[in-house]
């Protein structure tokens, strides 16, 4: 899934990021901390979308809505059974895997042959159904889960900052590492890699492409569920909570380049830190979207003009 030579680019970008990070630490330390935290969140939410886009070729417009379903599932487990959100991470990811596979079997699988546009439309319809269903059940009034650890903080070099959100970085690294292991060391993973490279070729060699698609879709939604459980202590749960993440995930996937999963974490961290820097400048917060999207467009353009699309 990664083209040769991009490993070197990866090291260069990582080094550049570390240097920039050190500089920022001395200018405005909390900007670096918040940037890493938010950036990892964007990255770990984007990874499942990139997975489905890379292997199945489907742009899942319902990505954010699945995230919202996970938020509500975690909230409901907390509300009705008193389960701590971190403890419900695994159950929620299983629930979401089931939901994801169900949706996949009923809808997406039928349109795999119909082309990317049909898949786009069907995920749009699914997104609408999911968010409106949640609205009918829970109304638009937001919910929240209270946990004492969600605003835990620490002091480092005289700077006070919250530490809970570093869990997003941990999950991102874990997911990336797990995916690498999966893709390289397991038979199913190697089959998945092959399908991602060339589905027709994979089918010819006898790989059960249909099963790979099913598995990847389910896995992706399960990861979404896992992340959502860890998000609950920090976010408001309402029907539109996940929707903005669809576009952000799409942006990160494009910025990293299709097939480049590790690049997503880097791109996420870079954009997160950039956003935090702009927000830390007084009067800058209103411009952070422009800066972030501007950089995104520049990165994509520069890659295109270099010839490596």
């Amino acid at each position: 899934m990664q083209a040769a030579g991009s490993a070197k680019r990866l090291y260069i970008y990582t080094a550049a990021l570390i240097v920039t990070a050190i500089i920022i630490w001395f200018w405005e330390p909390t900007a670096l901390v918040y940037g890493i935290q938010r950036g990892s969140l964007y990255a770990v939410v984007a990874l499942p979308l990139a997975l489905i886009l890379g292997i199945l070729g489907v742009l899942n417009l319902a990505h954010g809505e699945f995230l919202t379903v996970g938020l509500y599932a975690t909230y409901t487990l907390f509300r009705n059974y008193g389960w701590d959100p971190m403890a419900s991470a695994v159950p929620v990811s299983i629930i979401l895997a089931v939901v994801g596979i169900g949706v996949y079997l009923l809808t997406v699988r039928q349109v795999l042959k119909a082309g990317h546009l049909s898949q786009l439309l069907i995920t749009f319809g699914i997104a609408l159904v999911l968010s409106e269903l949640l609205k009918s059940i829970y109304t638009t009034q937001p919910r929240a889960v209270f946990t004492t650890y969600s605003y835990a903080f620490t002091r480092f070099a005289g700077v006070r900052f919250g530490i809970y959100e570093f869990v997003y970085l941990a999950i991102a690294l874990g997911v990336l590492f797990g995916l690498q292991l999966f893709l390289k060391k397991t038979r199913l993973g190697q089959a998945t890699f092959a399908v991602g490279q060339n589905p027709t070729g994979a089918a010819i060699v006898g790989i059960n492409v249909r099963f790979v698609y099913l598995f990847v879709f389910g896995l992706s939604i399960a990861i979404v569920g896992l992340v959502s459980a860890f998000m609950v202590p920090r976010v408001s749960v309402f029907p539109g909570a996940g929707t903005p993440f669809t576009m952000k995930s799409f942006a990160l996937t494009a910025m990293a380049g299709l097939g480049n999963l590790n690049g997503i974490l880097l791109a996420g961290l870079a954009l997160g830190i950039l956003e935090a820097i702009v927000n830390a400048i007084p009067g800058g917060a209103g411009w952070s979207d422009v800066v972030v999207f501007g950089v995104l467009i520049l990165v994509i353009l520069s890659r295109a003009f270099r010839g490596a699309r």
Binding site: G125, I126, D289, V290, R303, R309
Partner: protein
Amino acid sequence: MGKKAMIIVCILVAASLPLYAGPYFLSVFNTIFVYMSLSLTWDMMLRTGQLSYGTAGLFGLGAYSSALLVAKAGVHPLLSIVLGGLFAGVVAFLLGFAVLRLRKIYFSITTLALTSVFAVVIRNLPRLTGGASGMVLPSALFSGDAAKNYWMVFALALGVIGISLWLSRSKTHYAINAIRNDEIAARSSGVDVFKYLLFMFVLTSSIQGVIGAFYAQQYAFVQPEATFSMNFLLLPLAMALVGGVYSTSGPVVGAVVLGVVSEYLKLIMPYGHLVVYGLIIVLVVLFMPRGLTRFVARQLARRGRVGGADRAALGN
């Protein structure tokens, strides 16, 4: 010949609607024509193989430029609609040199990002544009006369339909189809890919600007959240896909069907109608994956009522 007669009847019926339908009906179809035009422009760009997510952005640019011209420079509203389209076209022309080198998801996400950039920049220039609170215009187009607004948007929609049809019949469409099917082959056959892409991008963006300007003048206000709403991207996209892409009849039919269905559903099911709307979209994709128009055409063909030539024309 039967098909042509049907189309003429439809146009006559639609044109004469204000004579016997009330303002509500006209309002609903007014909205349908707005979305229909946007849907056609999205499809036209799609025919070149480029999936644009920038419809709402150019729509908003047209709306704001037209609003500024009327509110700050006293330009006549109708003229401002033309100029709004022109402005959107110029912006598209300038951006095209950079953006049209991109393909697939990179083109899509860049056009989507541009929409956000336009909206945020406009929002951050309050002295010029009214900022986040938006701007109110001194008066609504035709003083809110339902019939005149309807005829105007109907004429615009007819114009866009005409452009779309012309495109599919002119020699341009060979080049466009070639680019869509295999860009490298087209390029090696001597097709100037960039020229055609730029032409289509500027053309569709100008139309989107005109429609946006009309919308702003009709409701006499602009505001970043409302004017750059994602609805102006998602709904036209869904309409074209539901109706059948790479055609003129597809977006037209899709806009009418989805527009009427959503309004009707809302009236009979005040709570939860959007769930049904979403389900309908899912079902349409499952059972009519190539769109309504092609599905209907196939059914009619099966019953032998439509000749081979007409079938080809319907399926584009």
